[in-house]
Amino acid sequence: MKEVVIELREGRPRGRVPGRLFLAYLLLSVAVGLVLLGWLLVDVVGRGFAWVDATLFFDPPSADPQLAGARPAILGTLYLMGLLVAFTVPIGVGTAIYLEEYARKDRWYNRLLEVNIQNLAAVPSIVYGILGLAFLVRGLGLGEVLLAGAFILGLLVLPTIVIAGREAIRAVPGSIRDGAYALGATQWQVVGRQVLPAAAPGIATGTILALSRAIGETAPLLMIGALTYVPFDPTILGEFTALPVQIYNWTRQPQEDFKLLAAGAIIVLLVLLLAMNAFAIWLRNRYQKRW
């Protein structure tokens, strides 16, 4: 028995060193992301914080950085978000319900649809911009207006919303559907009264995360002609700008002060973005279902 005790206390199982190295590698991987993000945040906040003031929120842009604000850009971004939700949620959720609850998976056209949506989610945003320019701005003659921008951002995030919606719907166990059907509910009642309410928090979370991607998009908006100098409040059918476009514009100005102003606008954008993500996380935790 003595040998066993000695073995327990002094024996070193092999494979410890590789295990520790692996852990070190994992920690390093995590650190790269965290450090870079942290550095970026510190840099931006340090340079731009002094510029986040009433002027930035409430005044239009100007040639003088001391007087320039991002009011049209902030309003433009808010309008875009509002329209985006109005377009994409009904269509995205509808598509997700069709694919999960109604589509027969053994039909080729449904499979084609599925593959298509997954591929669309991976298409670069600039391509959506070109599409918008060709079909909406010129083809439909909509012009370089906010509505066209909202459509394009909507198309951009629609696949993401569909995929998130499908995952939320799929997470509702089949036993819930069976239970409802067995009581004589129609498919409409099963989907409307059981599946959708149970999937709603997941759908909302996915939608918000998709929106927070759209909020930072610059390329497609530039493509369809979001003006970089808009001194007036946007309207749905008028010319417009958005926060990322305004930031892009300011960073290209020669005066150093505009770069600091851009950092200020980045803080506004980041706060908006983090607030949306935090809300999504809160929503997910608050309504997480235990089956």
Binding site: S175, D178, G179, A182, L183, Q189
Partner: protein, 273 residues
């Protein structure tokens, strides 16, 4: 109740009024039969048990009675099931209407993620039974022997109940739409022995008003609760395909004491192989 279960059984079976007449029923998944050539009658206000080894198609079979197999796109049903003489699979029969008359309780309790009250009220609500909803819910919970345990917390979530309570809630939910038949697919297999006993006692109560069909893995359970028992087995064909078949169907005491078929005898005496 002064009658013993055995007396009730004898009285029930004396009338032998069939609710379902199954004739030469075959169920296939993607063209491969899972259950073939089943014929039997299910009698009114009796408990009919389907027993047999795993994969013998007994769960597939019970899901034919309320057309739940319609929800599986690859499943197809051949043969006939007459319900009071009406072919359940006739072209003009609406499966939603069938399920309203023939309720079902599943193997794993599946309460909706809603309050206890809303679980029981779901069926009446979707079927438009709006009048006296509260009384209806209370009666269903009484009939499922759950009322006393939940009457003070009807607004609480159903998922906070224990497994056995959840299953009785599912029974109450099925009773709330006043079906004629209740199908139970291994209703106690996920429950502890005490909860199981409560469900079995409940079944004895319910058969005064309802026709009950139960699938069970547990032979003792069939022996305890069922008036009629059908034994299913698996036949392996020359090509290695496994198909469920009905071996023997008779009054429960006969199945368990003097079965006609050797396979039944081997199974009920534990010599299944």
């Amino acid at each position: 109740m002064t009658e013993t279960h055995i007396e009730v059984r004898e009285r029930t079976l004396a009338s032998r009024e069939p609710v379902f007449e199954v004739r030469d029923l075959t169920v296939s998944y993607s063209g491969v039969p899972a259950l073939a050539g089943v014929s039997l009658d299910v009698y009114r206000r009796a408990i009919t048990a389907f027993i047999g080894p795993s994969g013998c198609g007994k769960s597939t079979f019970i899901r034919c009675f309320n057309r739940m197999n319609d929800l599986i796109p690859s499943a197809s049903v051949d043969g006939t099931i007459l319900y009071h003489g009406q072919d359940l699979y006739a072209r003009d029969v609406d499966p939603v209407a069938v399920r309203r008359l023939i309720g079902m309780v599943f193997q794993k309790p599946n309460p909706f993620p809603k309050s206890i009250f809303d679980n029981v009220a779901f069926g009446p609500r979707v079927l438009g039974m709006k009048d006296g909803l509260e009384e209806r819910v209370e009666k269903a919970l009484h009939d499922a022997a759950l009322w006393d345990e939940v009457k003070d917390r009807l607004k609480e979530g159903a998922l906070s109940l224990s497994g056995g309570q959840q299953q009785r809630l599912c029974i109450a939910r099925a009773l709330a739409v006043e079906p004629e038949v209740i199908l139970m697919d291994e209703p106690a297999s996920a429950l502890d022995p005490i909860s199981t006993t409560r469900i079995e006692d409940l079944m004895h109560e319910l058969k005064r008003e309802y026709t009950i069909v139960i699938v069970t893995h547990n032979m003792q359970q069939a022996a305890r609760v069922a008036d009629m028992t059908a034994f299913f087995s698996v036949e392996v064909g020359g090509d290695g395909r496994r198909t469920g078949v009905l071996v023997e169907y008779d009054e429960t005491p006969k199945i368990f004491t003097t079965p006609a078929d050797k396979r039944t005898e081997d199974y009920v005496t534990g010599r299944f192989g």
